[in-house]
Symmetry: C2
Amino acid sequence: MKITALAGGVGGAKLLVGLAALDDVELTAIVNTADDARIYGVHVSPDVDICTYWLAGIADEERGWGIAGDTFHVVDALRALGEDTWFSLGDRDFATCIHRTDRLDRGVPLHRVTRDIAVSLGVTASVLPMSDDEVRTRIVTPDGRTLDFQEYFVKERQEPEVAEVLFAGIAAATPAPGVLTAIAEADRVVVCPSNPVVSIGPILALAGVRDALRAHRDVAAVSPIVRGRALKGPADRMLASVGARVSAAGVASLYADFVTRFVIDETDAGEAPPVEELGLAVQTVDTIMTDRRASRRLARALAA
Amino acid sequence: MKITALAGGVGGAKLLVGLAALDDVELTAIVNTADDARIYGVHVSPDVDICTYWLAGIADEERGWGIAGDTFHVVDALRALGEDTWFSLGDRDFATCIHRTDRLDRGVPLHRVTRDIAVSLGVTASVLPMSDDEVRTRIVTPDGRTLDFQEYFVKERQEPEVAEVLFAGIAAATPAPGVLTAIAEADRVVVCPSNPVVSIGPILALAGVRDALRAHRDVAAVSPIVRGRALKGPADRMLASVGARVSAAGVASLYADFVTRFVIDETDAGEAPPVEELGLAVQTVDTIMTDRRASRRLARALAA
């Protein structure tokens, strides 16, 4: 079956690995690019690279980002040259970014570059950036500061309170070629357990995506919130900032207009009634992807 | 004494190291940038970096370029991503280029970036790129091909015959701030034993430089040609291409209008009469810089 998955960083990548491992699944991943940035003059695409590296089997799974066994000579040398190296990047990871930047600057669109990198690394799933256009998440703090997403996420370690989340450029951006088709032609769409506000949110905000999902009759989403907390990252605090309840049902409420099946963790059964009240079918399984076996198990439940 | 030296790659760098080691010398190096290029999207500045790394004591002196003990993970990863990696660059060397490119793209002029890199690496001599403007050496072959200098020098290993050497952009370029002053205010100007055509040639071709040298009463040049051959690189074949004799005297004839003293190797004493015929004082010493001691010895002879 054809599965098209919407994904962000590590949580999404783990589920993509599980889905890609299923023999009967042909997988397309649509990945958030609103946390892309130019850092050290190169185009970093953290969510796309995390998903690609995990699918290629070269990810540093311990650390969650970058390439296993990578060295850090470039960033160490940049520090010696006086740069503020708050954004770490391994040498091989740097090569990905240098290569991407060079091709983008020559006019090759991001979806082509992204595809070619994935193919070069041996990824058989299709990896699609959500858009070729520049969409950039900005975090507004209660004291009125506006931070680029990576500044908030990496430099300030997600410590500032989030008053508002903006997607700069979203109004003018269109989905990358292939995105709407991948949704329309999928037998099933899967929304990965990624941050609903800053990972899935930008994809949904792209012109035509939400409509394409509403028009689809088989859209499953996995809750990234289990027992009122994010498994990873600041999703729980961000949900509160956007006025959603910090619970599986809170996430479901953000997706209720297009999701047909909502997957919650088996330890979170109390969330089933409020999700059902939203008119969604509830599937209760073990959603915690501690290893590849767990990822495959969750993927199988979603493909069933 | 204040010495200002004009330099290209390895031959120049070795003499700079010797000059910088002299207690009573305050050294400014004016370095060729006409072999700069954008490769992998980053601004490589081979002559400037060679000189800087040698002066910093971190050069790979065996190989002649790059940083001693550098690794090559980035370029290996670029190759894995499908890039044609004919231009090798170590990881720390890549960091220099990434840093330079990022600052240039933010509008910082090359001479500032170059100075800051040198200072960060602990270089006490002043390293000045010849120009902030883009001057690019192109090699025209007898069959009419035009090659970028690095294509000729690295990719095609200096194998093509050279019919003509062009400096694209030279007419619009001006010397970097500090260049003309460094010449005018020097007690002595030294032209290093670098390639007269493609290393020293572009510096001399910049508006005002040759006039500033002619106005100076103490300009010494060291022949890069010993016994009719270049110590390194294609200088001998290039001299022939531009119609100069391939000899120390041939080099002297290119510099005769501004040099007051011409230094030839002690094994090349037969060159003294033709150089003297050009009206230049001849100094005969051991010019072969096999190690730092030899560089210092030649430097002392030049500072004397």
